[in-house]
Symmetry: D3
Subunit: 320 residues, 6 copies
């Protein structure tokens, strides 16, 4: 039954902004859901513009645009009603302690761990890309998985001036983990905090690095096929992977990025062929986009990705 048949129309511009208008579950021990959405509003890891601390709020508000109260989301191209019956919960935000990177990261890790403990799919909304570090750490006792990064920047700096947990470091941190079996890094272009040495380090550790043009030349399906067959996959999406034309609200925009369907089709292909065991979407800085398009992109992408994941799960149970 559609939500609006129960008495309220609940138009998108009304109501408290949780993700997809899902119930807010402040008591993480009581989580009972398929998807657990956690905000990670930490942006002290940024090297140019901050503002990603308001990413969770922005994405939650934008998600209401896709929440008309239908029972599931009908896609006429696929002729599928996605998300029907999928139970989403909004965990609220991890507690952030200003000036204290380690404690803030620890709190994010605890949130993801709670989602995992509840058997839910963790979906973390950053925050800057350093928030991926505790997300990955939360899988410490879990089965190995492949990491798919969709991003403009390689984020493979080991250490510089003592910084190891900034937003230029997460993929290097991930590559060190025994439970991360490998990386595919897609969308990488232009100069960033990772220098030539970082690329060499990444390649030495087995990363498959693809630029936007390289993936475009391959196509979404062939790109997806480069991931290790059947491996569980964690997906980290830096919104700056996208072209600034549709994602200007981010800390370090990089021209020449992806358009919407390029990433959507990659995600659909990956979700079809792999168990997806975790997701984060980072670097949405809403205050740099007065039009709201960036937050809408993030919300639209997450809603569709979740649809793909659970549509796939209907036939193929996840490995995690």
């Amino acid at each position: 039954m559609h939500g609006y048949q129960t008495g309220r129309l609940d138009l998108p511009f009304t109501g408290i902004c949780t993700f997809a208008r899902a119930p807010h579950v402040a008591d993480w021990a009581a989580l009972d859901c398929d998807v657990a959405v956690l905000g990670a509003p930490f942006d002290a890891g940024t090297q140019w513009r901050a503002g990603a601390r308001f990413g969770p709020r922005g994405v939650r508000e934008a998600s209401t645009l896709f929440s008309f109260g239908h029972a599931g989301a009908y896609d006429h191209e696929d002729d599928v009603t996605y998300l029907d019956g999928v139970r989403i919960a909004d965990m609220g935000d991890a507690d952030i302690v200003h000036t204290d990177t380690l404690q803030s990261h620890a709190n994010i890790r605890a949130g993801v761990a709670a989602a995992l403990a509840a058997g839910a799919l963790p979906v973390t909304i950053g925050g800057d890309h350093s928030t991926n570090i505790p997300c990955i750490e939360a899988y410490e006792d879990h089965a190995p998985f492949h990491l798919l990064q969709i991003d403009a920047h390689l984020d493979f700096v080991d250490e510089r001036h003592g910084v190891t947990r900034g937003h230029g470091n997460p993929m290097r941190r991930a590559a060190e983990k025994p439970w991360v079996s490998g990386l595919t890094q897609v969308g990488i272009r232009n100069v960033s905090s990772t220098a030539r040495e970082g690329y060499e380090d990444a390649r030495a550790r087995g990363s498959d690095i693809l630029s936007v043009r390289q993936m475009r030349a391959l196509g979404a399906l062939a790109t997806a096929a480069r991931l290790p067959q059947g491996a569980p996959v964690y997906i980290t999406i830096d919104i700056d992977a996208f072209c600034p034309s549709i994602a200007p609200g981010t800390g370090t925009p990089s021209h020449g990025g992806f358009l919407y369907y390029e990433v959507l089709e990659l995600l659909q292909a990956v979700a079809k062929a792999h168990p997806v065991i975790g997701i984060d979407l980072v670097e949405v800085a809403p205050d740099y986009d007065p039009t709201g398009s960036t937050s809408i992109l993030a919300a639209q992408l997450l809603m569709n990705l979740l649809g793909f994941v659970f549509h796939a799960r209907a036939s193929v149970p996840p490995a995690a």
Copy 2:
């Protein structure tokens, strides 16, 4: 005990945005609180810029800036800790039906009525000023009260081209109600949809109309003293009563408005001398103020007004 002593720091930039981070009570029959905050995101009554439909969201988000988790709000000028122990609930928004003014207004009325039924002080966040019409209607079976309007515009149009429930009509509608014993209209200035006839009508019905300069000349205390002594008061605040310098995010800004302390001191004086039995704050259109100042003003004002009301109630029980 301060909230941050219970384990989370809960900085203002984190968390789900309810008003003052109060619990969200979607089941209005279950309201058990001192203050019940209702969003009324209806703006089809506007005659220039719309956008007040996002007023509830904007004010809720801004209210988090004043929510550091202290037990109450300490004011060093008054040497008082306000709001300690006052229980606020966020009712979410009244259901709005686009294109249907009557149904949308009926839903707002139902929300205010529910708050009243629960014995809570209703605080409605608009929406345009037409949302005041159902707010007042919700008091139909209640004891008479005086209406204090703080506004740039008289809003006293009876009917024009069939319109009786637009944002130029609410004070005329209120004046018709037997349970509204009188009006004080403060801040009125410049041309608006009310023509000379409307002023004459208002005066004939007993309205006390004061411009910004007239109230400024009187002072806050003398202005407050013009209200009928001891009468219960409903307060309706149109944010455009304020100078556009601090409230540009509104539909019909009017230069020459109030500054912050002018209104605050009037509200403090009224709250001290009268039972306040209802509040609405309308016409915040956040998207017209990229700085966020207007929403912050609305939130700061409501938090302080609630503090004054419940500080007064500690000695003088309300009449309603």
Copy 3:
């Protein structure tokens, strides 16, 4: 002779903003022109962001950018000077009555009817997409025509909570009309207020529904060829058919939309093969796009479409 040869340079940043700097004809009974442009600033039919009430002003102002005073508009790709000798009139806006959807729609209908009565091509600038409802109704006594919708959303909701004339209903309303012989709906994607039932209803009534990717795969010419051969066509363009990268200034942006030439080439093909008997362009909400690009897109598109229509008319007289 170019306009600037008559004594004034009339740079685009100067002058009163009528559409294309055409004469303003306030007396609709006196219309004597080839194209009659009507503003329909009604946005109470929206379900997320309002603001389309300022669409007519935004598009008019942007149209001055394309008004250098040349005698016609030379296109070096086509080697054609378009619009030379075409007489445009700006009717101003239909009268809007706030809170009253039916009366506002009636006034829009009257405007379009006046343009038709004058033998001019009606071009209506919204306002939200509900303004298309009275536009179509104005053709009540006219010969049947095919309706081409370019839009992100199907807008095929029949009724919900009593709403039948909101911006989610227009194509359903059109499909009911005996004088609308069929619909082609292009650009449709993602979740919106139309649920699965709406799609089934539309298909049952003969709609040809194409997503962006489906039209992209076909190409503009093959898409145009799907329209019934030679049929008169009314074109309704919702600016959110376009990618938010070039049209963020709209109420409900949807990622994955069309780029400029995709729509332009479809319009050129349709204008070449069909009599175009009416146009509306809706949902431009300028205040959500501080760069002005959305309004510029709308103006640029309309100017080019009018060029195509009247270039075609030089050889094929319209059916209407």
Copy 4:
């Protein structure tokens, strides 16, 4: 009769934007009105931010907010209905020739001269303050008058690097004219392009220079009383005379400026005691104020000033 009694409601958000919705009279030889409003969209005289070229458009659009269709503008403080019967015409804009300061200025002068020839009160909307130079020149064969400048900057640079007609020069240019009998310069503060020598030059030529604090200490009436008794007055208002809190949309904001009533009361006092023979309002750069407050201020001020002028004329005929 109110305009809305003639059939249309004509809400402020509808319609073609002429000043105060007055008729557009493109043929300046046919002017027949009391007030002739001319746009002077020239901003190549600026030394920091440009954008005042869009001043006329911004002020025209904002003026619609004060155009509800009443017969005159009722002010409840003064208990006067202003502007009833005053005939305003919008002349459109003077032709501007980019890169050519002299020709652009000549065209502005021609417009003001046409207004004067028609016996109308010229009201010029800039453009930067250099547009005042041709305005003053247009009075060449007229009776001498006093010049009242309301501005943050003295604008008394004689010549620097060959520049004599930039926005730092107009008061020096005016002081040279035999038909300008003297200057009162109010609101002057902070560093600007005029150096100490300019102040000495101005004082030597008889200028009465008052800062914001100096006028504030005097009060509006005493300040007005410093103008030569009964002399005809031309008023030039640079919007940056105002505090950036209400007028941020200008090229060179200067903190510490006037608030609304301070200037309004000065203008009311001057209009009561002197024939006002010309007005310009300059330096509104709407694109630097996304809230629209600056344009609204300019429109509100002009509407009120015109009210004062014609209310005074009812008893005292103008000298010009």
Copy 5:
């Protein structure tokens, strides 16, 4: 000689943006100047909106508006030409290490220490208010001084969740230093991260706390007279001391703040009666103010304060 007499006009919109167009001295050991301006772009200490990291850039760019190339800044109210002959140097920014509060603060301290070692007046542009902590620490071996804070917030939190160097802690940190002889805290209002205990702690340590209304009632001179007579003074200005009407571009705006002349007159009085031995101005977050007014305020204030300080020094040599 004026700068523009040496061959270039150097309009404010041209040129590399150093503070007041002073020379950039990257080699801090080579400083030879009266005033040394240091940027401290650290904002990880914020509890709501970040963005103060762009404060130094914003203030530098805005300072060009006051840099017309005059030899000194003539003030017609005081009839003084300020800053003539005062040598300013721009040190660039302290090095910031993201995620590392201690190292970033150490680098700021080193910059201030270098300025002091060169015998220059250190002027630090934040960054958030936590950057005041290393500024004060840099005076460790210097003579005691009084600290004048102009701010909306008390910033007197000792420790919470381990945070001791966030933007809510600096005045508590300062009060602990033996070389800080006392504090005057002006402008304090509304709820912030400091709870009642913080106020009690501050008062116990001898702080003189004044709200905006309290200082307004006293006047600037009486307020200045409350500082210990003749004591050297360090001035820390949080831009949120000002009303959001003129300073919306800041992290935590608080309504009811100071207007321009209120603070200017306090600073003038203090500079006249005390040696000023250091200045910081913090919390300008330019991206939250698209009008630029906040940065202009900061630049205008600093330029005037420096004028006052060195005008006073001409007769009274500083103590430091």
Copy 6:
């Protein structure tokens, strides 16, 4: 050695904004570098929106995003480290004299001439496109070269109302010069100030005119191959050649423009096959793009183009 290995991290948000953080060389006689970057902040040649005067500041600030302190810029697609060892100097801005087009242009010419005299590659950042006129004039005594224009508009107006040096004239001016051997004009689309006569004139003078779709059909390599083989090339890039989706911050946006890689690949091909002897990039108006994307595009493009030019020079010495 990377810059961050020398002691400072120098994050992109820190430091004085020169282009690419290159040294500022105010004494043009002392230039000793490979690339000399000159700002030309002149925008009085514009016909719609001004604001390009802030182009140099915007591009300089954006260039810091690409300045992480690496020794050169590593591109993983090309596996090349560009710009390693290339010495860039920032000349600051040419002196602009408001109201005086000829003098402003003369000053720009002097700057480019100084760069040429120093043997450096001149890179001029506009300003509007009229600033290209003095750039080309500075090559008066140099060997002939081909001019590659990347632009939405032909800019081939000879004269209109006396204007010969506005932003619609530069290509016509260039075509007259004996030292300009020919023009390739790429990206030209839609109506602009050039009428049909201008196109005919351009073709008659040998211009090769290509629209976006025409170049898109050809591809970057085939387009580059249309330039005269081996000829030295001067490249002028109007940012409005790009799609408004990535370059909204410009005076006269035109939909249907280039995406990032389309232009990048053309530039790479041209730089590989031709000596590049001069570059200008014009019409960036940062204040029309609150997201900053346009300035970032300009900076990213220039940094890459310079990389290509000097990578090519390593094997092929330039002709100039």
